[in-house]
């Protein structure tokens, strides 16, 4: 469950403005339960929307609302390459290929 494969990374490594799908949550028990209750569960799509001026914490969008998590905790939220989200690896402002 902890093995990392190519194309997988944590929420802390997600580029600003990009989305990823939660693959596993490996944080302390209390935070893990809270995250789950707040709707961050395996399979949920999260987007990194903002980083605080001092570099921490992060703001993510999940299920249509904004949630702030610390960078250290975000490292435990593993994301998977989302087959539907090609934009994940492509630059955001990439011009559409005609």
């Amino acid at each position: 469950m902890t093995a990392r494969h190519d194309g997988e990374y944590s929420l802390a490594e997600l580029p600003l403005g990009r989305e990823g799908r939660v693959r596993a949550i490996e944080v302390g028990a209390e935070l893990r339960r809270r995250l789950q209750e707040m709707g961050v569960i395996v399979g949920t799509i999260v987007r990194l929307t903002r980083i605080a001026p001092l570099g921490d914490p992060l703001e993510i969008e999940v299920r249509g609302y904004r949630l702030s998590v610390r960078r250290a905790d975000a490292r435990g939220i593993h994301l998977a390459h989302d087959p539907a989200g090609e934009a994940l690896t492509a630059p955001m402002a990439a011009p559409a290929v005609a």
Partner: protein
């Protein structure tokens, strides 16, 4: 599980409605609108969770509404959540389960809001859902179909906009009209082996009358999930009947044996999967592509959480708040003090002189005044906090400051309570209520009094005047240094607390950043008033009582001759001036030099009395302990009397040095202090107020917990005397050690400092 239990609701009897919902769901706005702002605010027994109850207006039948704390879930892992769960299960002392639960959900954020909704629905009792903030949903490009939602959930769903009072009539009507559930209590199922284990636990709960039959399945599921992880996540363990405990453990073994090792995750996933299906049937875009628009909140946030502008805006807001608390309250505090003086004079004129008159005028009125004088500062701070919370900026402030507070193990939300403690720790400690995690909250409370508050300023000024002279830069530098000492001590102690007594799983920082709202004046004033009033009723009584005790310690025992002697000397002075004492008592003219002599006689008698009182004697008793800090017994008396409130130091020193207590001008006092010499010991004949002693004394005042109001508020906020006792002890020790270090190092540094 499929049996539906509609409870018949008699029209003539009182109907009790609980109002549940997520934070930021507009629950309180809706509650206020339904009760017409006429409600009672208090605390739940044994916890500092705010309890608000009110009557439903315009209903034509008696209906009470109970506003539950805003929570994201019913898992009892925080005091708020436990109160919400226990109130819904009828397990709060002296209250049955509510007849009906109104769940307020944010239409713009339906999935996460329905998570709590699902847990309430699973408790099997009648539910009405208010689908609130429909306007916000529409602005976000979402169209919510309340009829479809109602069909999917099996309970009435009423669309509302609480801020504009839309949908209130329909909501009132559906609260009064019982409607049977048209769907199973739980819309999703677990694997059979788990359902069997949960069912067995539910039967036990029913047998033990832990909750009623309808709620048993939902309650069993909540308990299973809450007690799944080995360590209890809430510091104080839950007091479950031992049979329930055993049953939970047995069910857990059964479920693990059947191959499920992480039941909580499974339950959450199943719930959200079901919610996903419900939402899909009820929510769609207002127009194709409308859901992707950039929200106004995002545009505001691009400025307010910007690296430069965000920091500037934050600094400006904090500065404004600080100035408002510090100086805005001053005229009002002056008025309160003047009013207090007026009432005291009125008592003195109306009553014959004697202990009773002194008790009422100085003890009781003084004690009440000590409470009321904080009220303006508290109101202003709570006004700001209500404004910040209602607008949504409070969450951004925590978002901005969290990185700084993390270093000492605190939470972003600790920043505002600590900052406002620069004005006064009492409102600062009350402001920690916004911190959900009990350990983080306690750590913040425990260090807040180290932040140098405004009551210390007169003390600093008096000492600086006696020791450092009049140089403005030196004065400002020393005062600034004291603020730095207090702040550094607070941050260090927070780190110490978080690593020792308040150690626990690393603080969770999980904060919703709700969309910005235009603050509504009515709601803000209401929130300010509710919280400020709690201070008067809860902490005020303790503060006033302790002030009377402190007064008595300085008043008794009475000096046998000082006052009669003073009386005799005053009469003698009047007759040498050729004046008739009886005429003077009636208000006859007295020449200035005679008046000054009379004041001197009175001041000397007051000094004798203080030295004779319990506090005066204690000053002598503690002198050996204070000598290493550079303090004589007179400073000891000043310090002891300051345990009621720090600013008392100035007036007490005035009395000790026979210059009276009532003057605004402390020049005579400063001169006496400068002239003070050691009467005995190795330094006999040398000045008492050296630079080292002055700094030592100021550091003592920075670090020592000399404020009964703070201790009383901590007692109220933590519901035990344990934490105020720990606070008092550690701060006194810290002050002693700090002063000792300053004085010993200072005197050894040589002549320049002494």
């Amino acid at each position: 599980m499929s049996d539906v239990a509609p409870t018949a609701i008699g029209r003539s009897t009182l109907l009790r409605v609980a109002v549940a919902g997520n934070p930021n769901s507009g629950k309180t706005t809706l509650f206020n609108a339904l009760t017409g702002l006429r409600h009672h605010v208090g605390n739940y027994p044994g916890v500092t969770v705010e309890k608000r109850e009110g009557r439903l207006t315009g209903a034509g039948a008696p209906v009470t509404l109970l506003d539950l704390p805003g929570t994201y879930s019913l898992s009892a892992r925080s005091p708020d959540e436990r109160v919400a769960r226990d109130a819904l299960l009828g397990r709060m002392a002296g209250a049955e389960a509510p007849d009906l639960t109104l769940v307020v959900v944010d239409a713009a954020n339906l999935e996460r809001n329905l998570y709590l909704g699902a847990q309430v629905l699973e408790l099997g009792r009648p539910v009405v859902i208010a689908c609130n903030m429909l306007d916000m949903a529409e602005a976000a490009g979402l169209r919510v179909d309340c009829a479809a939602l109602s069909a999917a959930l099996g309970v009435p769903v009423v669309g509302t906009v609480g801020t504009r009072r839309i949908g209130l009539e329909a909501l009132r009507a559906s609260l009064l009209r019982p409607s049977p559930r048209t769907r199973p209590v739980r819309g999703w199922r677990l694997p059979d082996a788990i359902e069997t284990a949960v069912g067995e636990l539910a039967r036990t709960l029913m047998e033990l009358r832990f909750c009623d039959a309808a709620s048993a399945d939902g309650a069993a599921l909540l308990l299973m999930v809450d007690h799944w992880d080995a360590a209890p996540l809430l510091p104080e363990a839950e007091d479950l009947p031992s049979r329930v405990r055993d049953e939970i453990a047995a069910a857990r073994r059964q479920i693990i044996a059947a191959g499920t090792h992480d039941l909580p995750s499974l339950v959450v996933e199943q719930r959200y999967a079901w919610i996903g299906r419900v939402v899909q049937r009820a929510v769609g875009p207002t127009s194709p592509g409308a859901a992707g628009r950039e929200r106004i909140s995002d545009r505001i946030d691009r400025v307010l959480t910007h690296r430069v502008f965000g920091a500037l805006a934050f600094a400006a807001v904090m500065f404004l708040m600080f100035v408002a608390i510090f100086s805005g309250a001053e005229p009002l505090m002056g008025m309160i003090e003047a009013g207090q003086g007026f009432v005291q004079d009125a008592f003195r004129t109306a009553l014959p002189p004697g202990p009773l008159c002194d008790l009422l005028a100085d003890g009781v009125i003084g004690g009440v005044g000590a409470v009321v004088v904080f009220f303006p500062q508290i109101c202003i701070l709570f006004l700001f906090i209500a404004l910040l919370e209602d607008s949504g900026y409070m969450a951004r402030a925590a978002f901005l400051m969290d990185r700084l507070m993390q270093g000492v193990g605190l939470h972003g939300k600790s920043f505002i309570p600590l900052l406002s403690s620069y004005a006064c720790a009492v409102p600062g400690i009350m402001a920690t209520r916004t911190i959900e995690n009990p350990r983080d909250r306690l750590a913040t409370i425990m260090v807040a009094p180290l932040m140098s508050c405004s009551a210390r300023l007169p003390v600093y000024i008096t000492i600086i005047g006696a020791v450092f002279g009049a140089s403005l830069w030196l004065k400002a530098g020393v005062i600034f240094a004291m603020y730095v000492v207090g702040t550094v001590a607070a941050l260090l102690m927070a780190a110490v607390f978080k690593r020792t007594v308040l150690r626990g799983p690393r603080a969770t920082f999980l904060l919703e950043l709700p969309p910005y709202h235009l603050p509504r004046p009515g709601a803000i004033l209401r929130a300010m008033w509710d919280r400020s009033r709690l201070f008067l009723t809860r902490a005020g009584t303790i503060i006033a009582a302790l002030c009377v005790v402190m007064w008595a310690l300085a008043y008794f025992p009475r000096h046998p001759t000082a006052w009669s002697e003073a009386d005799r000397r005053a009469k003698a002075r009047l007759s040498t001036a050729g004046l008739d004492p009886a005429a003077v008592a009636r208000g006859a003219e007295v020449p200035d030099e005679v008046r000054a002599d009379l004041k001197r006689i009175r001041d000397e008698a007051a000094g004798e009395q203080l030295r004779h009182s319990w506090i005066g004697r204690l000053g002598h008793v503690v002198e050996p302990a204070l000598r290493p800090l550079g303090f004589d017994w007179k400073i000891g008396v000043g310090i002891l009397s300051s345990f009621a409130a720090r600013e008392v130091f100035v007036s007490t020193m005035g009395v000790v040095y026979n210059v009276g207590s009532g003057d605004d001008d402390t020049t005579p006092l400063r001169e006496r202090m400068r002239a003070a010499r050691w009467e005995s010991g190795p330094r006999a004949g040398g000045p008492i107020y050296t630079t080292a002693a002055g700094l030592s004394l100021m550091v003592f005042y920075v670090l020592c917990c000399q404020c009964v109001s703070t201790l009383a508020v901590v007692r109220r906020e933590t519901n035990s005397w344990r934490w105020p006792a720990i606070m008092f002890t550690y701060m006194t020790v810290l002050a002693y050690v700090g002063s000792l270090a300053v004085y010993q190092v200072g005197t050894r540094l040589g002549g320049g400092l002494s």
